[in-house]
C-alpha cells in the first residue's frame, strides 16, 4: 500500500512551549486515519504543521514521498493537501460560489475532478445558497461549504479538523455520511474528531496523541473495545 502522507519525528513549538514531541505516523492511500486525543493533546497543532501554518522545527512530512515540511501554505495546498479547519473559517464576505471558485485547483492525476457541479451534487443545500454570503449560512451549511471548498482543490489528502464540532446531531450524521462517501471514492483522509463514535465508525486506523506525543497507533479494531486505552488517553467511559 502506498503511503499518502507520512510524518516522521516532527517537533513543533509555539514560542517557548514545546507542543509536539517527535510525532510520527503515516496515512495509507485511500484510508481514513482518526487522530484522537484530549483537548490540548496537539491534534490541531499537528494539522497546522502539515498545512504549513506552524512549520515544524525539525522532522519530515512527506506527501506521496515528496517532502512538504516548511513549504508555504499555498505551495502545500497546490501539492495536494486539502484542509477543512476547525471553526470552518469560510470566507464570510464572499458568496458560496466565490468561496468555491477561489479554491478551485486542477490536478492532472485526479480521476474524477471535483467541479462546482459535483460538490453541489454532494451538498445540494449549497446549490440553493450559491449566491448567498457565506457568513449568513447556518453552522451546518458553513461546515458543508468548508468541506466543499477543500474538495475544489482536488486534494490528494484531505485533513479535517473537528468537522462535527458545534453541529446539531442530524447535521453531524450528514457530515459523517459525506465523509463515508468520500472514503468510498478513495479519498485519503486524516480526521481529527472529538466525537469518538463518529471517528471510530469512519476510521480504518487510529493515532492517539497525549500531551504532544504519539501514545498509540494501530487499526481501529484494536481501539474500539479497549476501554483501558480510551480511558487513559481520551478520558472517557
Amino acid at each position: 500500500m502506498t503511503e499518502a502522507l507520512s510524518i516522521s519525528g516532527i517537533n513543533a513549538l509555539y514560542g517557548d512551549s514545546h507542543v509536539l514531541h517527535d510525532v510520527s505516523f503515516a496515512l495509507n492511500s485511500g484510508r481514513v486515519l482518526a487522530l484522537l486525543g484530549r483537548n490540548g493533546a496537539g491534534k490541531t497543532t499537528c494539522m497546522s504543521a502539515i498545512v504549513g501554518f506552524l512549520p515544524p522545527r525539525d522532522g519530515e512530512i512527506r506527501l506521496f514521498d515528496e517532502p512538504i515540511a516548511r513549504l508555504a501554505p499555498e505551495t502545500i495546498s497546490r501539492k495536494g493537501i486539502g484542509f477543512v479547519p476547525q471553526g470552518r473559517r469560510v470566507f464570510a464576505s464572499l458568496t458560496v460560489r466565490e468561496n468555491l471558485d477561489v479554491a478551485r485547483q486542477s490536478r492532472h492525476d485526479a480521476v474524477t475532478p471535483w467541479t462546482l457541479d459535483r460538490v453541489c451534487d454532494l451538498f445540494p443545500r449549497l446549490r440553493e445558497r450559491l449566491y448567498q454570503h457565506a457568513g449568513s449560512l447556518s453552522g451546518g451549511e458553513q461546515q458543508m461549504l468548508a468541506i466543499a471548498r477543500a474538495l475544489m482543490g482536488n486534494p490528494r489528502v484531505l485533513l479535517m479538523d473537528e468537522p462535527s464540532e458545534g453541529l446539531a446531531p442530524l447535521i453531524v450524521a450528514e457530515v459523517g455520511r459525506t465523509i463515508a462517501r468520500l472514503k468510498e471514492a478513495g479519498q485519503s483522509i486524516v480526521l481529527v474528531e472529538q466525537n469518538l463514535k463518529l471517528a471510530l465508525d469512519l476510521a480504518d486506523d487510529v493515532v492517539m496523541l497525549n500531551t504532544g506525543r504519539v501514545v498509540f497507533a494501530g487499526a481501529v479494531d484494536e481501539v474500539r473495545n479497549n476501554e483501558a486505552l480510551l480511558t487513559q488517553h481520551l478520558g472517557i467511559f
Binding site: 498545512v51 504549513g52 501554518f53 508555504a72 501554505p73 499555498e74 502545500i76 495546498s77 497546490r78 484542509f83 479547519p85 473559517r89 470566507f91 464570510a92 464576505s93 464572499l94 466565490e98 468561496n99 471558485d101 477561489v102 479554491a103 485547483q105 471548498r149 477543500a150 475544489m152 482543490g153
Partner: protein
C-alpha cells in the same frame, strides 16, 4: 454668499473627493490585504504629479501622461514590494517604517529633480473654459475629474466583485491564512494590489495636477487625507473608500471655505467620532 458659491464649492468637493478616491482606493486595498499602512502612498501621488510634469514636456496630452505616469509609478511600487517589503514579510512595523523611509526619499528626490517651486500642470485642451449648466458656471476639468473617478470606481468594483481575482483578494482580506491554505497565490496578489494601488495614486497625482499643481509637501498634504478616508470608510472596503473620499471631499472643501481657522478640526472630528463609535469604519468588516 451666492448660490454660485455653493454650487462651485459642491463641485470642488466632488473633484477633491474624486482625487481622494484614486488615492485612497489603493491605500485601502493594500492596507486590507497586506496589513500595511503604506506611508509611501502620498509620495506616490506626488511622484506621479512630477513625472506628469516631465512627460508633458514631450507629449502634450494630460490623459496619456496620466496613463504613462501611472505605469511608471506602478513599476516603481512593484519593485518596492517585491524587493523590499517582501523581505520583511511578517514584520509589519518594519514594513510600515520602510514605507515611511521611502516617502522621505521620494520627497527629497523630487526636490532635487524638479526644484522647490510649485509647477502647475496644464488643463487639457477643450476643458479650460467653464461650461454652463442650468445657469451656473462649472469648471469643465473638475467635472471631468469627477467623471474619471466614477468610472474608475465602477471599474474597480467590477474587478473586485465580478472576477475571480477580485474574489481572491477579498478572500485574502477576510482570512489571509485560510486563503493561503486553499492555494490562493497570496504573494502574487500582494504584488498585483501594490502595483494597482501605486498606479492609481500616480495617475491621481497627474490628474490632480491642473487643480493642485505639483509642489514639495503635496505628499504630506495628501497622505493624512487618505488615512482619514480609510479610517472613515473601513480598511479594505472599496465602497468605504468611495463614500469616505466624497465625505472628506465635502468636509474639507466646505470647512476651508466657511471656517478656515477650524479646517483641521472639521476634518479630523468625523474621524474621531467614527473611531469612537464604529472602530472598523462605516463599511469595515469584523475581522478585517
Amino acid at each position: 454668499m451666492t448660490m454660485q458659491f455653493w454650487v462651485i464649492q459642491t463641485l470642488n468637493s466632488l473633484a477633491l473627493g474624486g482625487l481622494l478616491f484614486l488615492l485612497a482606493a489603493g491605500f485601502s486595498l493594500i492596507f486590507g490585504l497586506m496589513r500595511i499602512a503604506n506611508l509611501t502612498h502620498g509620495a506616490f501621488y506626488m511622484l506621479g504629479a512630477y513625472i506628469g510634469v516631465s512627460i508633458l514636456q514631450f507629449i502634450s496630452n494630460l490623459w496619456i501622461a496620466a496613463l504613462l505616469g501611472g505605469l511608471v509609478v506602478a513599476l516603481f511600487g512593484g519593485l518596492v514590494e517585491r524587493f523590499i517589503l517582501r523581505k520583511l514579510a511578517g514584520n509589519e512595523l518594519g514594513q510600515v517604517l520602510v514605507t515611511l523611509g521611502f516617502a522621505y526619499i521620494i520627497a527629497d528626490f523630487c526636490l532635487v529633480v524638479w526644484g522647490g517651486d510649485p509647477i502647475p500642470l496644464p488643463t487639457p485642451e477643450g476643458l479650460e473654459s467653464p461650461v454652463e449648466i442650468a445657469g451656473f458656471m462649472f469648471p469643465a476639468y473638475r467635472l471631468a475629474v469627477v467623471a474619471i473617478a466614477l468610472a474608475t470606481g465602477v471599474a474597480l468594483y467590477l474587478l473586485m466583485e465580478r472576477t475571480r481575482l477580485g474574489a481572491m483578494i477579498r478572500a485574502g482580506v477576510d482570512d489571509m491564512q485560510m486563503a493561503r491554505a486553499v492555494g490562493i497565490p497570496v504573494s502574487r496578489l500582494f504584488t498585483i494590489v501594490f502595483c494597482l494601488g501605486s498606479a492609481l495614486a500616480g495617475a491621481g497625482g497627474i490628474l490632480g495636477g491642473p487643480i493642485m499643481s505639483a509642489y514639495p509637501g503635496l505628499d504630506a498634504d495628501m497622505l493624512p487625507l487618505a488615512l482619514i478616508v480609510v479610517i472613515l470608510g473601513g480598511v479594505g472596503s472599496l465602497v468605504g473608500a468611495f463614500v469616505g473620499s466624497f465625505i472628506i471631499g465635502f468636509v474639507y472643501t466646505f470647512g476651508i471655505a466657511l471656517f478656515p481657522q477650524l479646517a483641521y478640526v472639521i476634518l479630523f472630528l468625523p474621524m474621531i467620532v467614527v473611531i469612537a463609535f464604529r472602530p472598523r469604519g462605516l463599511f469595515g468588516r469584523a475581522g478585517a
